[in-house]
């Protein structure tokens, strides 16, 4: 049975093997960080959050984006998504696990992590973030597992899951909203101090998450027996297009406010991102790459003839993912610190160890994702023998 789930076991083992190696390197690097402290990273007194927190922010978005599958299927009875909602939920599980790991990895004293519960502090947004993230993780684990078990057994999932699914919809919005509040509620950090931070976060999340899902579906079609079909991916493509359009629109709004008002503290950060300040221009090539990729992807996704071609769709989704990863996973966090509220123009370049740890966490999340999707495909192979291709054993 297990053998049917994968069209190509060797590629799967190779993939898992690579992930395990990357995880191992990350663990070794993290042990080093535990020993020497965060000094092994590129962070410093001017830029005190870096790659880790940026990945956390980006991945909370990926987790929240599961709602783009749940909502059309459960609220609007959009049947086409029925077969892939579980993919979204499992992606959310892996993404939340990764983002929580990134928080832990970023702590100076991870041994005291439980202080967040022992000395619970409701005035801190981080406290609420812990609550919503753990809640979202549990919701998706329970929903995903129960629905998948139901499918496996050939019975409808128990009735108590429905309310949980409906609850998970606003909950998904909440995780990214609360994460945006971490930034948007800080006086003196003018780059983040904007009321459209949460909408911006959600818009970019609803583009990057579904983009990843489209890519995952194409990979599953190529290497496993599960085929999500053409039409759900087309719908996802449209969702990505409009979410991406909203995301770009929001960034343009920020640019207008910053530059037309002429308030230096607003404008400086955007100058730093796109042209550099006083020779500090580390992010400039990245940000322009992000901008170009976003606009190009939007064009591809809006032109029906291109979007319907799955090669173009895949390329556009990859571009969206990379573009928004740069925007959230690099630009947003670091730029908030440059220049600092007292005008220091800091520098931040991640170190090799920091990158190794970051890749290790990503690999860990992808391993969990692989495991969950393997369970999913196994069940699909069991329950949808018609859709199974190449399982031609007599």
């Amino acid at each position: 049975m297990i053998d049917q789930t994968s069209g190509n076991r060797r590629i799967e083992w190779l993939w898992v093997g690579i992930l395990v190696i990357v995880i191992a390197i990350g663990v070794i690097a993290y042990l080093r960080q535990l020993q020497e402290g965060l000094g092994i990273t590129g962070m410093n007194q001017n830029v005190t959050w870096g790659l880790y927190i940026a990945q956390f922010t980006f991945l909370v978005g990926i987790a929240a984006s599961a709602v783009m599958l749940i909502l059309p299927y459960y609220l609007h009875d959009y049947k086409l998504f029925g077969r892939i909602t579980l993919l979204g939920e499992f992606l959310a599980v892996a993404a939340v696990l990764m983002s929580v790991t990134f928080i832990i990895v970023d702590l100076g004293r991870p041994d005291r992590a439980f202080n967040v519960i022992l000395h619970a502090s409701p005035s801190s947004i981080l406290f609420w973030d812990m609550i919503v993230l753990t809640g979202y993780l549990l919701l998706n684990l329970v929903i995903g597992w129960t629905v998948l078990e139901g499918e496996r057994k050939g019975v409808p999932p128990p009735g108590w899951v429905k309310p949980l699914i409906y609850l998970s919809i606003p909950w998904a919005i909440s995780i990214h909203t609360v994460t945006a509040f971490i930034y948007a509620g800080l006086p003196g950090r003018s780059f983040w101090l904007t009321a459209i931070m949460a909408p911006r976060f959600l818009a970019s999340a609803f583009a990057s998450g579904p983009a990843l899902l489209v890519l995952v579906c194409l990979v599953l079609r190529r290497y496993t027996v599960f085929d999500a079909g053409r039409e759900p991916l087309q719908t996802l493509g449209k969702i990505i297009a409009y979410a991406l359009a909203a995301s770009i629109f929001f960034v343009l709004m920020e640019l207008f406010t910053a530059f037309y008002s002429g308030i230096p503290s607003l404008a400086h950060h955007f100058e730093y991102m796109f042209v550099g300040i006083e020779g500090h221009a580390t992010l400039v090539p990245w940000m322009w790459t992000s901008a170009v990729l976003a606009v190009a992807a939007l064009a591809v996704l809006l032109i029906p003839r291109l979007r319907r071609n799955e090669a173009w769709l895949a390329a556009a989704c990859a571009a969206v993912f990379v573009s928004l990863w740069i925007e959230k996973g690099l630009g947003l966090v670091v730029t908030g610190f440059i220049p600092s509220p007292t005008g220091e123009i800091g520098t931040y370049i991640p170190t090799a160890l920091e990158i190794a740890i970051t890749l290790g966490v990503w690999a860990g999340g992808l391993l969990i994702l692989t495991l969950l999707y393997r369970l999913f495909v196994a069940v699909k192979a069991l329950t949808e023998p018609v859709a199974v291709k190449g399982a031609g054993e007599p």
């Binding site: 402290g37 965060l38 830029v47 801190s124 006086p187 600092s340 509220p341």
Partner: protein, 253 residues
Amino acid sequence: MIDTERRRLLKIAGTLILGSMLPIIPCSASSPGRSASAAGAGRWGMVIDPRKCPAGCRDCIDACHAVHNVPHIAGPGNEIRWIRQVPFQNAFPDQGHPYLDAGRRDVPVLALCNHCENPPCVRVCPTKATFRRSDGIVVMDYHRCIGCRFCIAACPYGSRSMNFRDPRPFIRTVNPDYPTRTRGVVEKCNFCEERLAKGMPPACVEACGKRGALLFGDMTDPSSEIRRLMKDRPTIRRRPELGTDPHVFYIVS
């Protein structure tokens, strides 16, 4: 001892019962401070007169760093900040203009924790490791800090520093009466609350001595030296528009 034990158990029980009601308890209520009474102050504050700072004088900084075992780590963006000198336009970004008196523009300004009345760092701390005492001092509990650096992001004055590495090798002379920090926690100026408890003035103020660039006292006492000075001389504060209500004042005339 039995009494302490009972109080502790009551506290545990209380925490369990009131756990769900926590959000409605304002964060300042959990840190009833009484130490202000030790030196008889209602609300500590500081006045700085930058023009009384002799060029190149670092007495206050050295005194503070020596007393509190502040490490000296070389390299840009590495320095641990308790009290430091920053260019005028960095301390007061909205006040710089081309016609500013050169004497003022080029004189570095002392910057330290403002011990805000409404401190964002306290608001964002997820463990109450940073809290505001009733005498206005914003203190850190280094035993509790998890090193998330949310407070650094929240502080509009750059008054907080993270121990990215073990500070001990970087301490020039160790003062055995004051602890060092471990790697992984945030630290900052504490208005020398440990000295105030003994009735001594902050180390920086003491080091400044008769030069009088630094003045420290009770803001609630109209007859205090600091209040009398503020009556005579106009003062400004750093980024007051952010609503943090800083309690470090700068004389501008």
